[in-house]
């Protein structure tokens, strides 16, 4: 008859939180560790000193205000794509369409931003809402295809990536083509752009605050609303969700649509925040790296923010690393891929620490394999 716990609300919440976080950190940390180990081996193979390389990496990521600025610039869109993937994962769905959704958001932002220039911050707001809408609709397509035709969302979202990229590219180079040396759209007026943070942080803008706000929205959505309850139930046990009267089809479409909206905002911050226009070629791998960010963060909004900062830092630091040693820039892509590779390989923990650690760290359905 354990009634004692109920008498200590604060202690209980804190203990629960610590338990959850502690258990949850095992796999991401392991994945990062293994990735850096493999990276060190590769660096040695290229004839460089891994310690020097990693020091350069870390300095380039967090070592100075300008480095932190670069990290924030890289991380900001990843927060959004990470959330876009994480929310869909919670419904048991794979949103591999981040790439395309980012492009859709970017072209929407560029188009609306240029057209509504005179409206200043109001235009920024309209761009934001516009991106949410177009991203939502674009994400709803694979959701609809899955719910009503059974077409697996992995392949459809990937196909839509190519379609979106081609579509956006066409619009940027033709209909919305701007003047200027760099091919792409016109530049959005300064009044519409997201203000820079300053403080020596270079091009870092308030988009990162928007990202944190988005993470809060995602958290509230998933754990404080009835819709979020449904999404999580459907993701963890479609059979039980159906038994409880929750609509699987509706939640499938919604989850992917919401995911699309978040990812499109990644394109929004990249255009309205960092670049001021949509240039071709546009930033690549935001969607795929969003997957890594989401998994590293255990598909939890808080984790996504930290994961995005890590990924952003790795990318920023890689430039410094190429400068200082001559390890090619693409190593950061390789490291990120290795992290993604190991982050769901929960059985490795068994090899390293033993079976109990694995059951302790079990929490989300990821440990059972997300394949549906």
């Amino acid at each position: 008859m354990d009634g004692g716990r109920r008498g200590k609300p604060v202690g209980g919440v804190l203990r629960r939180l610590l338990n959850q976080i502690g258990g949850a950190l095992v796999f991401p940390l392991l994945a990062i560790g293994i990735s850096f180990l493999i990276g060190a081996v590769i660096i040695i193979a290229t004839g460089n000193n891994p310690v020097a390389a990693y020091v350069a990496l870390i300095t380039g990521a967090f070592g100075s205000p300008s480095a932190i600025g670069r990290t924030l610039v890289n991380a900001t869109p990843l927060v959004f794509t990470g959330l876009g993937v994480a929310v869909a994962f919670r419904a048991g769905l794979f949103n591999i369409g981040g790439e395309g959704q980012v492009f859709i958001g970017a072209i929407t932002a560029a188009g609306l931003g240029v057209a509504l220039g005179p409206l200043g911050l109001l235009a920024t707001l309209v761009c934001l809402l516009g991106c949410i809408l177009t991203g939502f609709l674009w994400g709803a397509i694979p959701g609809f295809l899955k719910a009503f035709f059974g077409a697996h969302e992995v392949v459809t979202t990937i196909m839509l990536n190519f379609i979106a990229i081609n579509l956006a590219t066409y619009l940027a180079l033709n209909t919305l083509r701007g003047e200027g040396l760099v091919p792409g759209t016109d530049t959005v007026a300064a009044a519409v752009r997201l203000p820079l943070i300053g403080l020596g942080l270079g091009r870092a803008n308030y988009g990162i605050l928007l990202g944190i706000l988005a993470a809060v929205v995602a958290y509230v959505l998933l754990w404080r609303t009835g819709r979020g309850f449904q999404i999580r139930a459907v993701g963890l046990s479609p059979g039980a969700a159906n038994y409880a009267g929750m609509g699987i089809k509706a939640n499938t479409v919604l989850a992917l649509a919401i995911g699309g909206a978040f990812c499109a905002l990644g394109g929004f911050v990249q255009v309205i925040g960092v670049e001021g226009k949509m240039s071709i070629p546009f930033v690549a791998n935001l969607g795929f790296n969003g997957i890594g960010v989401a998994l590293l963060g255990r598909t939890h909004p808080v984790g996504v923010v930290f994961g995005a900062l890590l990924f952003g830092g790795l990318q920023a630091g890689a430039q410094q690393m190429q400068f200082a040693t001559d390890v090619p820039l693409s190593l950061s892509d390789v490291l990120l891929a290795v992290i993604l590779l190991f982050v769901t390989a929960t059985k490795i923990v068994e090899f390293v620490v033993g079976k109990r650690a694995r059951t302790l760290a079990a929490g989300t359905r990821l440990d059972e394999g997300l394949g549906r």
């Binding site: 290229t46 794979f94 591999i96 295809l145 035709f149 059974g150 077409a151 697996h152 992995v154 392949v155 459809t156 990937i158 196909m159 839509l160 190519f162 379609i163 081609n166 579509l167 590219t169 066409y170 033709n174 791998n285 795929f288 997957i291 890594g292 998994l295 090619p328 820039l329 693409s330 190593l331 950061s332 892509d333 390789v334 990120l336 891929a337 290795v338 993604l340 590779l341 190991f342 982050v343 769901t344 390989a345 929960t346 059985k347 490795i348 990821l366 394999g369 997300l370 394949g371 549906r372």
Partner: protein, 307 residues
Amino acid sequence: MEDVLGLIGSVLASAIRYATPLVLAALGGLFSERSGVVNIGLEGLMLISAFTGVVGAYFSGNVIVGVLFALAGGLVFSLIHAIMCVTFEADQIISGVAINLLALGGTGFLMVLIFGSGGTSPRIGGFSEVPIPLLSQIPIIGPAFFNQSPLVYLMFLLIPLTFFVVYRTPFGLRLRATGEAPEAVDTAGVSVTRMRYYGVALSGLLAALGGAYFSMDQLSAFTERMTAGAGFIALAALISGRWNPIGAAVAALVFGFAQAVTFRIAQDAIPLEFLQMFPYILTIVALAAFGGRAIAPAAVGKPYRKE
């Protein structure tokens, strides 16, 4: 009239060429998925093989050595997928995405390291057509089927060969059983782990041939991202073809045909980007029409755990 027939013939030939890497990768995907391992990393496997093939051909001056290097690249990467999914029970779809990213980053990295800069590699001597005497003279279908490069002929042979292996050999029986009911296979004394490793390794080898086609036949060099989604289209062909070698080959041929036709006919009328979209749109339509995964091997996608 002659013009039209000639056009049909050349479009057919073109279609078969477009379809070749798709069929090869789809057959590879078949072996993996039939054993129960989802492999969406076909794209990455093809890309890395295209690269290693060029490396091999460049440094040895011999295109066959290049193919061997391509096979090695595909095999190594597919074994990574196998180890992660089968032994470490990682999520199979995530692992596939990671393989794709690894190939992207890896080829970028190695391009700089080996050839000094990104973009396109130096040229190599690639495959050229080998006309089969007499048969290649047949009007319309002659050039299409019998005046192609060795990789295309290999593709033709692999279709019936795959069918035979999967449906007429003990290996094939065990493979199919592993993908449907691994517990049953386990209690029959056959190693689920070993069958899945074989399945994934075969997917690596076949996808490698598909990748080799890109960099050693279609083009005689490696360009970053040159596979452009072919691995995913191949996966869609596999699904549309119901995980059956003949079905997958037919589906891949249809996709190849669509690509050939659009490029031939619409080249000037429609902007490049919209032409490029077409195969992907077609794939989505095919998946919506045929896609219900209800007919997939029953145990695909889940790690097998002995309790």
